[in-house]
């Protein structure tokens, strides 16, 4: 770690579901992630990894405790402001590579940038093409998003997560339904991105091998960080 600037900080985060019975899913989570870090979160199924990730990514606001992204407190922000934070600062890659099937691969990558509206459409197109090129799928740019393979979709989702140069990229089991070769490919991509572009990554994974190769492993059990 060359840089100790804190990108994300969670303080005393608690989360419980009361439906159908009261379950405390997260207990007093305290953690922080610095710029340029590649962090993995591991733990048994059902220990609360995804739940934590949804909270850290501001998608889930129903929790107690405090969350800071780029030193900015998330508590008290409106739904619209949170959407802007996600748009600007967070890139998200889901396990099931959610793409918009109505759009082409290129358009899927461009959408968050078009929403951010910092550059002209032409510039955004070029940025998007470059990201696709880095991920080795530039040739798919004009294909419809539902006409490409699972591994390709996952890479498109990563390109989309990268497009706005976010402060942090969060991934929920990005290699969960990929075969060995593809997961290795994705891992190498992540490694490259963090090292070459100075991005911060937080990845939830079951794959111990994958986790071992990251900078830091956060291990969870029963809603607590070990």
């Amino acid at each position: 770690m060359t840089n100790s600037e804190t990108i994300l900080r969670a303080v005393h985060i608690n989360k419980s579901f009361s439906d159908p019975v009261h379950v405390q899913v997260l207990q007093d989570i305290n953690m922080s992630v610095s710029r340029g870090e590649f962090v993995s979160i591991t733990g048994k199924s059902g220990c609360g990894k995804s739940t934590l990730l949804y909270i850290l990514s501001t998608l889930d606001t129903d929790f107690t405790g405090d969350l800071f992204i780029d030193c900015q407190p998330m508590r008290g922000l409106s739904e619209k402001q949170l959407a802007k934070v996600r748009n600007e600062k967070i890139g998200f890659v889901f396990q099931f590579h959610y793409l918009l099937n109505e759009f082409s691969v290129l358009e899927n990558v461009m959408l968050p940038a078009l929403k951010l509206n910092l550059h002209t459409e032409e510039e955004i197109r070029e940025h998007a093409l470059r990201k696709l090129e880095i991920l080795g799928i530039k040739s798919l740019a004009d294909k419809k998003a539902n006409k490409i393979s699972g591994g390709e979709k996952q890479r498109v989702a990563i390109a989309r997560a990268l497009i706005n140069n976010p402060s942090i990229i969060m991934c929920d089991e990005p290699t969960g339904n990929l075969d060995k070769t593809n997961s290795l490919l994705v891992f190498e991509l992540f490694k490259e991105i963090t090292e070459n572009e100075g991005l911060t990554l937080m990845v939830v994974t079951h794959d111990q091998e994958f986790a071992n190769r990251t900078h830091r492993i956060i291990e969870m059990e029963d809603g607590k960080i070990l």
Partner: protein
């Protein structure tokens, strides 16, 4: 805000489901088409029926009604002024229908800027003698030129030449129904007997057809001077002064004013023909009700398609939200979809509505009672098109409201977790 992007996303979603969207739009098209066609036809019919009356009816009619005087002698007596007086079998005192100083009144009226024209008239009750049978009828003594100019008299003279009333001595134009009863052809002479048992011979020079059969069975027309001769009155004798105004709606207030000024009775067209306004109103009301009902049904179509679309597009909504689109953005995307369907369907509907109106306008419509009408009446008022356009957008807006609201409330965590 970045509305263009939202519109772009909306259109992509719309085109991905273009068949259902088209069906929803056709629903709007259908209802707007029917709305326009229905109103055009109904209003055309209204105008026709109203015109039947309004074109031929004076806006204000000045006359002297034969009726008992409101001020009976007992009311003048101070002794009884504080009492409640009952008087029975009061008889009319003035038996004269004549309007006094009619020439001066007409002159005064001509100077009034609010008035389009004035036509004097005499009505005389007579019997037409047909062998042994006497048929009651009415002779209207008219100033042919004024009557034609103000009340389109010539339009309703179906045979013969109206102006001959003036040029041919002792001539008469009979109502078509009356002429048939009398078996009188043009050029024939008919006998009339007045209320005072005077006999006259009049030459038939034409037929008159108003469109109202009951009127055509009793009415006939002669020149003012001929009628004056029949009733045995001097040349200033006039029973009615018919006034046509520039503004029909001013009639009630002007009628009151003239009644006071000229000390005659004055009846305005609204009072005389109240039932026609009611009829028109009810017909319009029905057309609007049917049109709006159709639109509401179309609205439910849009509501359905949007709801369906939202269920199908849950993943897309979750993705949009996770990547930085707010609930309001998602709401707008679906509102754009709804209003686009409404706008598209509505514009085509307006076009079809117009075509439909033109089509109705071509259908032959011949009826003996309406000599001037050859096709179905249609009104092309721009108002219907504006109302149709506004309504199509408003209903689709309302139909889109609830689904869009629902879409904006979709919780991405639930969707992402649900996979």
């Amino acid at each position: 805000m970045n509305i263009r992007l939202l519109v772009r996303i909306a259109f992509s979603l719309l085109l991905a489901r273009w068949k259902q969207s088209l069906v929803a739009a056709i629903g709007v098209t259908f209802s707007i088409t029917m709305f326009i066609a229905l109103l055009a036809f109904m209003t055309g019919l209204n105008d026709l029926l109203d015109g039947l009356i309004l074109n031929r009816t004076p806006h204000i009619r000045l006359f002297n009604e034969i009726k008992p005087n409101n001020l009976q002698p007992i009311n003048h007596d101070s002794l009884f002024s504080k009492k409640y007086n009952f008087i029975r079998s009061v008889k009319a005192g003035n038996s004269r229908q004549e309007i006094y100083n009619s020439q001066i009144i007409i002159k005064t009226l001509w100077q009034d800027k609010r008035i389009q024209g004035v036509a004097p008239k005499i009505t005389a009750q007579v019997f037409f003698n047909e062998g042994k049978v006497n048929i009651t009828g009415i002779i209207n003594g008219i100033d042919v030129e004024a009557e034609s100019r103000l009340f389109s008299f010539t339009d309703y003279v179906v045979e013969g030449n109206a102006i001959d009333l003036k040029n041919v001595n002792n001539s008469i134009i009979l109502g078509k129904g009356l002429a048939e009863k009398l078996l009188a052809n043009i050029g024939d002479v008919v006998q009339v007997t007045t209320a005072n048992q005077q006999q006259f011979s009049l030459k038939v020079i034409g037929y008159f057809q108003s469109g109202l059969v009951d009127i055509d069975k009793v009415q006939s027309f002669a020149s003012l001077s001929t009628t004056q001769k029949i009733v045995g009155k001097p040349s200033h004798y006039i029973t009615d002064i018919q006034v046509r105004l520039h503004d029909l709606n001013a009639a009630p207030s002007l009628a009151k004013e003239y009644a006071q000024l000229f000390e005659t009775d004055a009846e305005d067209i609204q009072t005389a023909n109240a039932q026609f306004e009611t009829g028109s109103f009810v017909r319009s009301l029905i057309s609007y009700a049917v049109g709006i009902t159709l639109l509401i049904v179309a609205g439910f179509g849009i509501y359905n398609i949007l709801n369906m679309m939202i269920y199908e597009k849950m993943d897309s909504i979750a993705i949009l939200k996770a990547t930085g689109f707010s609930g309001r953005d998602v709401n707008r995307i679906f509102m754009v979809i709804a209003v686009s369907i409404g706008l598209f369907g509505g514009v085509i509907g307006l076009g079809f509505g117009f075509l439909f109106s033109v089509l109705i306008d071509q259908i032959p419509f011949n009826t003996a009672s309406l000599p001037t009408i050859t096709t179905y009446p249609v009104n092309y008022s721009i108002t219907f098109y504006l109302i149709g356009a506004v309504f199509s957008i408003v209903t689709t807006w309302l139909a889109g409201w609830a689904p869009a609201q629902k879409a904006s409330k979709v919780d991405p965590v639930v969707i992402i977790r649900g996979k």
